[in-house]
């Protein structure tokens, strides 16, 4: 049975899950949820995800939400196909978890706020708070400085191989490099720049981008 992923291809969190499913070669069906018409806040959808957010995954009778819980589940389930994605020892797994936490708490909040202010709010007829955007950008500079330091010692965030911790950054950095026009955060840092070029050229991510571009 094919895994069902609910969410629009344009949104970061569904992209995170799709990148993971492509890495493991898991067949899935993407069922679009129209955020513009508030489909995610309707009773039918709230039954699946009580916070009214995307994505939701249905694997037969088994249902999950929260993208980082979903990718951890599939990385554990298909560990034999690619053991490195979530570490081969408890210590390696702990480091993957550590950098996944960093992505979720230090990186994601800033990117989310910037996307909300620069893209979502104007679309809804509101005004961007440029001071807030600037503050988030300054904080991201500090985060990327730490990444630059880390990546000068390791090829990837959790160690010397690509893991969920790197994968989790793909959708957010894509936004920064494109619609948010903050590509300099990556391009100005030698190691971060090399790392981004590497991870964004992985076949699995390119497949996500094909889906993204195929829809306009």
């Amino acid at each position: 049975m094919v895994v069902k992923v609910y969410g629009p291809i344009q949104a970061a969190c569904p992209q995170r899950v799709l990148a993971c499913l492509f890495e493991f070669g898991v067949d899935f069906e993407l069922i679009t949820v129209d955020l513009d018409s508030n489909e995610h806040k309707q009773p039918d959808f709230l039954q699946k995800q009580p916070f009214g957010q995307v994505p939701v995954v249905e694997d037969g009778e088994f249902r999950l939400f929260e993208s980082r819980a979903i990718i951890r589940y599939y990385a554990t389930k298909y560990g034999d196909k690619n053991r490195n994605l979530y570490g081969t020892t408890l210590e390696e797994k702990a480091l993957v978890d550590q950098w996944l936490e960093v992505e979720a708490h230090h990186f994601n909040d800033m990117v989310y706020t910037i996307v909300l202010q620069k893209l979502v709010i104007p679309k809804m007829g509101g005004r961007t708070d440029f001071d807030l955007v600037h503050n988030c950008e300054k904080k991201l500079e500090q985060v990327f400085d730490i990444y630059e330091q880390r990546l000068s010692k390791n090829n990837y965030l959790a160690g010397n191989w690509f893991t969920l911790a790197d994968l989790s950054h793909l959708p957010g950095i894509r936004y920064l490099m494109n619609e948010c026009e903050l590509g300099h955060l990556v391009r100005d840092r030698k190691k971060v720049n090399l790392w981004w070029d590497d991870i964004s050229n992985r076949p699995a991510w390119k497949k996500v981008m094909q889906m993204f571009n195929g829809q306009g």
Binding site: F51, E91, L95, D97
Partner: protein, 210 residues
């Protein structure tokens, strides 16, 4: 001693790890970090946590930061010590994983900001911003409504037994229950019962009174 925890016992993120170590009945050395002297921004500490935050942790050669990565490491590495805080069945553990994310992304987002306004600021002689409190209480209430529904079907957030998904809430609950925000929990019977249950666990009581 192999396990060392660096931080201050007033920090919710440090308490999260202390709660886990207590449940797992693991011996460790607590190394106090003097935050009023900005020790957490010193080069020595930044080599342990490049974000200059507490806690930092080591177990032999392994050095970690981020409290929820540390608790998950402890729970998986020491499954036979003390309380089992994870579930071995992958699907059941994935559900625990969902509610670990919910605590991290939703509960903590508003809960820790409320704890800052209502509990920490008075401790530091700063003035609580009631507008911020009102906004975050409203947001937290929406999250607690989902918890009420979940806990009417499930004894604990992750399933039938106490796991990391519940434990991660303890430090913020500790602070909020000493403030007017406690009423948000009291107003929801299943949430109230769950909060009382997990906060009365002997390991937690010992961790915060030691």
């Amino acid at each position: 001693m192999a396990i060392k925890l660096y931080g201050t016992a007033a920090s919710t993120n440090v308490l999260r790890v202390m709660a886990c170590l207590a449940e797992k009945e693991l011996d460790y050395e607590f190394v106090n970090v003097n935050m009023s002297n900005k020790e957490h921004k010193s080069p020595e500490f930044l080599s342990r946590n490049p974000f200059g935050q507490v806690p930092a942790f080591e177990d032999g050669d392994l050095k970690l930061f981020e409290s929820r990565a540390i608790t998950q490491y402890l729970a998986h590495t020491y499954p036979d010590n003390g309380t089992n805080l994870i579930i071995h069945d992958p699907k059941k553990m994935a559900i625990v994983g969902v509610w670990i994310e919910v605590e991290a992304q939703k509960f903590d987002r508003f809960g820790s900001k409320l704890a800052w306004e209502l509990a920490y600021k008075p401790m530091f002689g700063l003035t609580t911003d009631e507008t911020v409190v009102e906004e975050h209480e409203k947001n937290l209430e929406q999250v607690l409504d989902v918890y009420e529904s979940r806990l009417s079907e499930s004894k604990y957030l992750g399933g039938d037994c106490f796991t990391l998904a519940d434990l991660h809430h303890l430090p913020v609950l500790k602070y909020l229950f000493g403030t007017k925000a406690k009423r948000l929990f009291d107003a929801r019977p299943h949430v109230s019962a769950w909060a009382a249950d997990i906060q009365s666990r002997p390991a937690w009581v010992k961790a915060i009174t030691a």
